[in-house]
Amino acid sequence: MGGYGDVQLLRDDGLRLDGRKLDEMRPVSIEAGILPAADGSAMVTHGLNVAVAAVYGPMEAHPRKIQRQDRAVIDVRYNMAPFSTGDRIRPGYNRRSREISKVTAEALESVVLVERFPRSKIRVEIEILAAEAGTRCAGLTAAAVALADAGIPMRDLIVGVASGKVEGIVVLDLDKAEDNYGQADLPVGILPNTGEIAFLQMDGDLSPDEYNLAMEYNFKAAAEIHEIMVDALKRRYEGGEN
């Protein structure tokens, strides 16, 4: 990131290469309850990203050494399918998926009422079927909807969104070219009702003003995605489809 300054990412008319405005998000759609075998599940389509999350549990935590006497542990497994990108990904866990699994689990632990289920485990599987920058955010959003669908008690939903900087300008929701050739990426996990931040990573450099603008974009996008999340959950149950 930031090493390819000669790549043009903004058009002369001020729009981005895909025609979006600076503070415009890629289209997002969410469907809850797509996997009958899981206790809760969701699919998030965010631009060209497709993330599926499945939740199992709470169940007895195994191996026993991972049990916590006063709370549940959240076991997240994030994985990108080998066919999710243009270049085939070697199947299996790697350093990146371990890192994303860990930060996603920590973000989810801050919203799930884990103290309700001592010694148990909530298993969250996130599978990225198609990737185009922003998969950790799509995966986090999908996991939150899947947890709610599974009936896991939470104090809020959690929305994954990202902003970044391309050609020195802050933009919302980076696509693949912007992510690869941009100067900064700021993915965050936002609790939409309380405005708290459960997860924040930053790649590249942002000045304080740029950071504030990026967070402003992120909060605006989180509010929009939250509405789509709530709508997906309501559609599943209020719409008569169970």
Binding site: D39, G40, G57, P58, M59, E60, Q69, A72, V111, L113, F117, P118, R119, S120, A148, D149, A150, G151, I152, P153, M154, R155, D156, L157, L191, P192, N193, T194, M229, V230, L233, K234, Y237, E238, G240, N242
Partner: protein
């Protein structure tokens, strides 16, 4: 927060969603008070009853309580106890001293093996969620014939109906013995037609147990019941 039919209003809430002000109102399950506001902690229907606001969850895991009558499956056998799958986050423990037979140390396998199904009662649940079961009691026994089915925990009330009226209708319609465990496991013992019909009824509970049309759908299904239909 207006009251609807049976003290419940059909308002679906998602975790974190504000239900209303918390002043003067007690907070029930599925909700918590935060900054003078009651927020939902689960996906479910808002319920207001006796000045208490709660959320009736759409999906929930079985949390055992002392005294629950459950249908459990043997998951592990040790020399002097059985570990039972109770369809919850934790396994239940059935010590040989609480089995209905006189069991010698090391002879537990001769009485029940992995996969056997029993009707048991929750004897005790401690603060660490250790669950102790008992099979000492009237009617508690090993279930040797019939089939095991599942129903969502939150729809058990709908399956039973008021004073077990709906459950009795199902029993009469399919001419089967039906035992509903508090853990969402249902045992059906009867002929194959009756069992197949009962399974359809459980599927109906799963699909439309939360809808107002459930009663009408069940009445329609009853017309095809073995006792009323061609079977």
């Amino acid at each position: 927060m207006s009251n609807g039919q049976n003290g419940a209003e059909l308002r679906l809430v998602t975790p974190g969603m504000a239900i209303g002000p918390s002043a003067g109102i007690r907070v029930g399950s599925g909700a918590l008070a935060q900054n003078d506001t009651i927020i939902a902690t689960r996906l479910g229907w808002v319920k207001e009853f006796n000045n208490t606001v709660s959320v009736d969850p759409i999906n929930s895991a079985y949390m055992p309580r002392s005294g629950d009558l459950i249908v459990a499956t043997v998951a592990e056998v040790r020399n002097n106890l059985w570990f039972m799958n109770i369809n919850g986050p934790f396994q239940g423990l059935l010590p040989m001293s609480l089995a209905p037979w006189k069991v010698e140390f090391g002879a537990a396998r001769q009485h029940m093996g992995i996969g056997d199904v029993v009707l048991a009662r929750v004897q005790e649940v401690d603060e660490c969620h250790n669950v102790v079961l008992t099979m000492k009691g009237v009617g508690l026994r090993r279930l040797t014939q019939g089939s095991l089915h599942s129903v969502p925990i939150n729809h058990l009330e709908r399956l039973r109906g008021e004073g077990n009226a709906t459950l009795q209708r199902l029993r009469d319609a399919c001419d089967c013995r039906i035992i509903v465990g508090e853990n969402g496991k249902v045992w059906v013992d009867g002929n194959s037609e009756g069992t197949a019909w009962a399974r359809q009824a459980f599927d109906l509970v799963l699909k439309s147990g939360h809808k107002d049309t459930f009663e009408a759908d069940l009445t329609a299904l009853e017309k095809n019941a073995p006792k009323n239909g061609d079977a």
